[in-house]
Structures are given as C-alpha cells and as structure tokens.
Symmetry: C2
Subunit: 478 residues, 2 copies
C-alpha cells in the first residue's frame, strides 16, 4: 500500500482552488471513493470511522434526553407521501421511485425515503391514544435519498447517512421547547466536540423545511467564506398531526391534536469538519471524532529498545485515547506527511535520545508545535494537549469567522461586499419574500438565518428601505 | 399508556398455534408494528434496542479481528448486478427496481441492494494493487431489500437490517480461514451471548449462496422443531474476482486473482431469540442483549422508605447492568406480567419486609425461581444470577434440541419421523442433487447442513441407498 501512496504535495493549495483542494483531501485522506453508482459515494473506513464517532457521541446525547431509536421502512407509498401538501411539494421533485419488485410492476409506486415524517406520523397515529402516551421521542439513524443533479462528497450526494428525530407532544409549547433543545444539542456538539462555531437562528419562511411551521438552524462558516447549514430542527405545529389524524385524549377528556418536531444532522457534517479546519497539508480533525487521536512514530526504530519503548507507550496511551503505533518500514518523514494528511490531532515521536531523557515529543497537527513531556505522566500530558488543541481549533475558526463577517446597512455596500468578500453579511430585513428573492438576484446570496440574541444593526430593510426589525445573516451556501 | 395495555393472558398459547403465539409476542412485547408499507415492518424502540445490543457486541468482535466498517451505495445499476452470472440468477427474481429519479426516467434502472457483493468487488478492483493491500477486511451495517411474497416480522420481510462482511485475500487458504473464522464468531455469539445452541456445517450445493464456491451456516432449532438459519459465511473462491478483474501483484512479481469471502447475520436473529427461548408468558431474553436486564419493582411503594431504598438500589445496580425502576402506579402484579411479557431476565422485588431484613428478592424470568440476596453484595449476586440464567437458557435449549434430533437410516422411518416429529433428522446422503430434491418431495424437508465433527450414521444414502459418506441435517426451515 505504502509504495503506491501518492505524496501530500499533490494536494491542490486551498488558495489556488478551494473546490479542488476539497476533493483532493476527501480522496487522498481515504475518506471516500467514487462509486459506479452515479451521484453516490463510498464512505471508506477512515471516513466511516469519523461518522461512527459522531454517532456515538450524538446518540448518547439523544438518549440522555430521553430519546429512543427505532427503524422505519425505507419506502414510502406515493399515497402516503401525498398526505401533507406542502411536504410533498417540497420533496416530490427530488425523489427516486421504485416501480417494480419481485419481477412485477407495483400497483402503487413507492419512493425511497427522502425523509420520514409521513412514516412516523402514520405510526404515531396508531400508538398515541392518551396524554399518558406523550411525549413520544423517537430517533432513527439511516440513509436517505434525494436525487440531486450535481453532487459533491459529503456535501451533496444522492444518498447520504443521517439521523432524523421525530417527536410528538401534547402542547405547542412542549414542541417548541423540544425543537430548541435539539438545536442546542447540535450547537453544543458543533462548538464543543467539533470545535466549529455556529450561528444559531431561525430560517425565513422561504428557507424553512417543506411543511414545517418553523425551522431553526446552526450555520457554520467554511474556510472559503461559504456558509454550511450544519443541522436543522423543525417545529411542525399540528398540521401533519391533523392531516394524519394524530390526536390524544387529554386529562380533561377532550380529544386534542399532537404537536410535532423533527430534527436532523447528516454526513454533511464531515464536509463541515474538512472545510472548517483543514489546511494545505490535508485534514485537521477535532480530537473528539478523530479515528486516530494520536499516532506514535518511533524515531530510529532499528536501534535497540526504541520499538520496545514505543510499544509500551502505545499500550499505556491506549487507555486514554485512540492511539496508533506506526512501526512500518516507511521513513519518519513519510509518516509525518501521511498522518498530517489524515488530520491526526497529535503525533508522538520517540527515539533513542528521548528514551535516554525519559521523554517523548508531542506535535500538534494544527500548528506543528512541539512539546517535550516526561514519560512519567504522559497520559495526563496527552489529554491536556487534546484540550489545548481543541480550544485552539475553535478559537482559530472563531477568529476567521469574525474576520469574515460583515455588517451592512446600505444596499450598494452590501452588493459590493457580497461580490468581493466571502463570508457572512449581517443586514436588516423587512420580512418580505420579495426582498429576499431580490437580494439573491442582486447579490447572489441567500438568507442563512435570523440569529438568536443579536442586536439589530439598523431599522431599515437592506433591500427596500422600509422599516425592518429582523436581523438576517446572508451568505453563499453549500 | 398503561391504561390501554392489554394483559398477557391474551397471548395465544404456543401449543395451540405457534405462528399465532409468535405474532402475538412480537406485537405485545412492543418489538414491531406493522407499517403502511406492504411487507415491511417498523422496528419499535424495544425491538431496536435488542438490535443495538447485538450490533455493539458483534461489531466489537469484528473489530477485534481486524475488520473495518464502510458504507456502500444502496443502489446497484443493472449492468453491475449482471456481472456475475450465478449471482444475478439467484437474486434477480426478488429485487426492487428504481426506474425514475428527480422527475426523470433513468437511463439505466437500478435495484435496491439485496446484498452488496458486486459493489464491494467494484470498489476492491480500484483499491487493490499489490500483496501489501491484502487482506482487505470490510464490513457494512445496513438495510437490504428482497421482494418476498409472504412475510413475517424479523423472519422474512421485504426490507431487513443486517451486516455484510466482504473480504479479499491473497490465497485460497486465507479466504477459507476467514470464512471459518467468521462462522465461529457467529457460532460463539449464538451459543455464549444468545444462549442458543447451533449446528455448524456446510451447505449443499443446492442450498449455497448464489455465486459462492462454498457456504457455511449455523443452524438453530426453534421451539416448534423448525430450523432457522442463524448466519452464513461464504467462500467465493476467485470467481467474482475474475469477473471484476480484481488482481494483485505478488512478491514474485506475478499478477494473481484475489480470493473472496462474505458473511452476514440479520435482524432475523431476533426471530431466533424469540422462538428459541420464549414461553406462554411472552419473551425470554438472554441477558447479553436484553434492553432491560433487570427491573426493580417496589412492593408496597407507598410505605415509608420503600421508594427511597428502591432508588438507591437502582443507582447501585445501574453500574453493573441495564436496570429499570418501575415506580409507576400500576400494581406489582401488573408489572410482573408486563416485564415477563417483555422477557426481562431478572425481576427484583423490594418491600418493607425486605428492607427490614436488608435484602431483596431476585426472580428469574425463565423459571420464576426466587433468591433472597443481601443488599450488602447485591451487585455480585445479580451478576452471578445473570450467569446462571444464561447457562440455564442454553442448557434448556440444548436439551430440547437433543430431544428433537433424530437419526434415521431407512427411508420409510425417515418419512415417518419427518411427518410426525418436528425437529432435525440426521441421515446419510450420497451427494446427488436428485436425492436432495426427492427428499423434499417425499418428506417435505430441506437439507440444513453437513455438520462439522460428527460421525457418520451409516454408509448408504437415505434416499437412493447407494454408498454415501456425507452426513446431513434435514429439517423444515423458516
């Protein structure tokens, strides 16, 4: 394998061509491979291990907050998909249809799920009878299909992996609380585990999910100044519930409709990790989700005692981290480049001199800073270094976002900024769809969200000049 | 919820109607629900939690033996599926076809994967170049689709969840070793974790997997005497590799074909658990995969100190097991029946008298045996009880299998046994397909496997009377 391996210098530099840099990284870090199935990707072991780590951490958060996993069929009969009008209108153009099965034409065609609201509703209708049955807090890890024309690994593929939570509540307030609770779980996960700062906010009506009453989002800024929608949480009110006849007998003996939410994050998150932290040497992975958190590279490993000590160190550190020892024949220089490409957070070097001095060297992926640490308490030192590393990744991303976030109050200046400076633009909006569409036309931006807890930056709509109370983040999106 | 709950006496007794008993249990223990999607099931939280536990344990075994998880597209273009002749002939009649996507007719239709051999081969062709790249040990957890006419929850559904391992090796010997290694992992899992004894053996050519050179299987006997194929491991030789051009440059600088295996178990395993251990009160779950391993039921919980002590006990036991405290308003009797239905391995009762005597009562699900244990070392006592419980489940299943396994040397006696006694029948076979087919016709049985390590029970074919060296297990299968 090593022999065939291409060297890192073959990555396109970010500044030269960001899109090319991205595809180089996903391929050369062995995250994905293209498949013979148009628009679908193969998630390779190294990429899938990231997803497994994401799943493990998020699933624990979901379960801690009382959610249970279930599995729904992957097919949706056309008549079922048609039950909620706004929903079908949003999804019909991009579904894949199964028309034949077992050698026969189906009497009713079925789509491969693009999302499972209608399936959950159909089930909830059967199992919710009384206020005692509420809330129902279900989640599902699965793959979904949306027939995209142009695709890019992780960011937009015809099939992708995700989780979709679908919950039912007794009151509108409970549903709203759940919607925001899950949004906060996503935001915390992005900021604390993935070290990616996000803007939390509400989508405009134009950008909200098909059939939802309100959609909330976490929006992250990528290296190239484009926005990436990191996860969404939807409050459906009781429209779906009414369409599906989901109601419960309350304590007061009245039949009442249920209030519904759904929320999801997908493998697109891996795209966010790549584009938020990566550099010209390849991936830079947050420690929480890195398949290999630290790689041990023995120096002068042919010398007596080096491999023995490296093995001993591997065994000790395996108790506190996902550690790999690379004692292959490849040169240390090759290994350094290889694990930098793969974004391994910490490289640990240990050679004859280090052993003499009862130490090893920790080298951070983000800034290549070296720290000499005593072997006596190397476990604590490594854990401490992960912490510093994660903080540094977060602060760097936060600083970049600050440098790439602009506030505009005049239309001409907005357009100029949108044309010349990649990033978020904050500006006031009157709330009219017309203005939102016009900004797309004038400045080629879309609204990202109405952020929580930020002060207004004026009182006039950036587009029409009429009174405005809504602050919007605008940007070019993936 | 509790109010609506139907009581356990509504389960059909096993002896009255085993099939009805089975569907009663899967519904009333909240394992599955029927969906509006014909032939597909909804796996409810309690059922899915069993699958999650299966996944966790098996995945750890796969990783311990060097396997890595990946994710392949769920679609297979028709031309790719057609690449290996025997394979397509086996699967074509039962696939579902996607013919339209994104509002357009596809130029080539695609099936939803019934299994992924061809996708893995297509990928392996691209990534295997040298002997250094071998072995490749990949596994995938996913759902697959086979368009069955008649379906039953877990046993036969149009969509089901499974794992499929697909590996590539340098030599035929390596592939055979891998095939048997994985078969042994399955057998150990069935016997040690699920407490289900299995017969390990090789399938006849008629029963082997479409395109495989050899298929190995673990066969379990259900309560009603029917056989259930618990998992299979296939050695493909190099036929697929040749069809797909997967070859590697060996150390001697020669291009050589790769040798391939695949192996899988599915949610059908949950059907095996139900039918191997269940009884007329419902499920009986092996502790290793039970979502709730022990339920704590406070007795006279309104009395002072009872709930406090029950909470304390729950907290302590949660460190050694998956424990649930049921302090709902339902009566202890209702709770007993409820958790028996759900197959919870151990019920723990604690009431005022117990507290006075610093004890609690452990009641085993399989035989309802009560043990009084001191609160001082209740953790150890519970763990010990799980061990005894698992052993007892295994021994009971083993004894039942022994009582339902017959050896026959004369055709008439074989037919009589097949007609009157449910179970396995051991008999010699000459190896001719004709005899295998005739036994189906005469006795309505299929060959289950040629078992490993069992002595011959004669030297003549049970069917044609010609010399025979092959011992076969026959049975009626799910």
């Amino acid at each position: 394998m090593a022999k065939e391996k291409k060297f890192v210098e073959q990555i396109t530099a970010m500044d030269v061509d960001f899109a090319k840099w991205y595809t180089d990284v996903v391929k050369k870090a062995d995250l994905v491979d293209y498949s013979g199935v148009k628009g679908c990707m193969i998630i390779r072991p190294y990429g899938y291990a990231i997803w497994e780590n994401v799943q493990k951490l998020l699933d624990a958060e979901f379960k801690k907050t009382g959610h249970e996993n279930i599995y729904m069929p992957m097919f949706i009969p056309e008549s079922l998909l048609n039950k909620e009008k706004a929903h079908i209108e949003g999804f019909a153009p991009e579904v894949a249809w199964v028309t034949h099965g077992g050698g026969e034409k189906l009497t009713e065609r079925m789509c491969v799920r693009p999302t499972s609201e209608v399936l959950f509703c159909d089930h909830y209708k059967d199992i919710i009878k009384s206020y005692r049955d509420l809330p129902k807090l279900y989640n599902q890890w699965c793959s979904v299909v949306r027939w995209e024309k142009t695709t890019r690994p992780f960011l937009r593929t015809r099939e992708f992996l995700w989780q979709e939570g679908h919950t039912m509540h007794a009151t509108a307030e409970d549903a709203e609380n759940e919607t925001l609770r899950m949004l906060n779980i996503y935001a915390d996960f992005y900021e604390k585990q993935l070290a990616i700062p996000v803007v939390k906010g509400k989508k405009t009506d134009k950008e909200k999910f098909a059939g939802a009453a309100a959609t909330y989002t976490v929006e992250a800024l990528m290296h190239d100044g484009k926005a990436l929608q990191g996860g969404t949480s939807h409050n459906f009110g009781c429209e779906f519930a009414k369409a599906f006849g989901i109601q419960y007998l309350d304590k007061d003996n009245q039949l009442k409709p249920c209030y519904q939410t759904s929320w999801g994050v997908s493998t697109r998150m891996i795209g966010a990790i790549i584009m938020a932290h990566g550099d010209d040497s390849g991936l830079v992975l947050p420690a929480a989700i890195a398949p290999i958190q630290a790689v041990i590279v023995p120096i002068a490993q042919h010398k007596e005692g080096v491999l023995e000590k490296a093995n001993e160190l591997t065994e000790r550190l395996s108790k506190v981290a996902r550690v790999k020892l690379d004692d292959s024949d490849n040169s240390p220089g090759w290994k350094f480049a290889e694990y930098e490409m793969k974004g391994v957070p910490i490289r640990i070097e240990i050679g004859p001199k280090d052993i003499e001095e009862n130490q090893c060297v920790l080298v951070r992926r983000d800034n290549r800073e070296k720290v000499f640490v005593s072997l006596d308490n190397v476990e604590e030192a490594l854990v401490e270094e992960f912490k510093k590393y994660t903080e540094a990744l977060y602060n760097k991303a936060l600083e970049r976002r600050a440098n790439m976030t602009y506030t505009e109050t005049e239309l001409d200046a907005f357009i100029e900024t949108a044309k010349t400076k990649p990033g978020f633009i904050r500006a006031m909006w009157c709330g009219d769809l017309e203005c939102e569409l016009k900004m797309k036309e004038l400045a080629d931006v879309t609204s990202r969200c109405m952020p929580f807890g930020e002060d207004a930056c004026g009182d006039k709509c950036i587009c029409c000049g009429k009174p405005a109370t809504k602050l919007l983040y605008w940007g070019k999106a993936y």
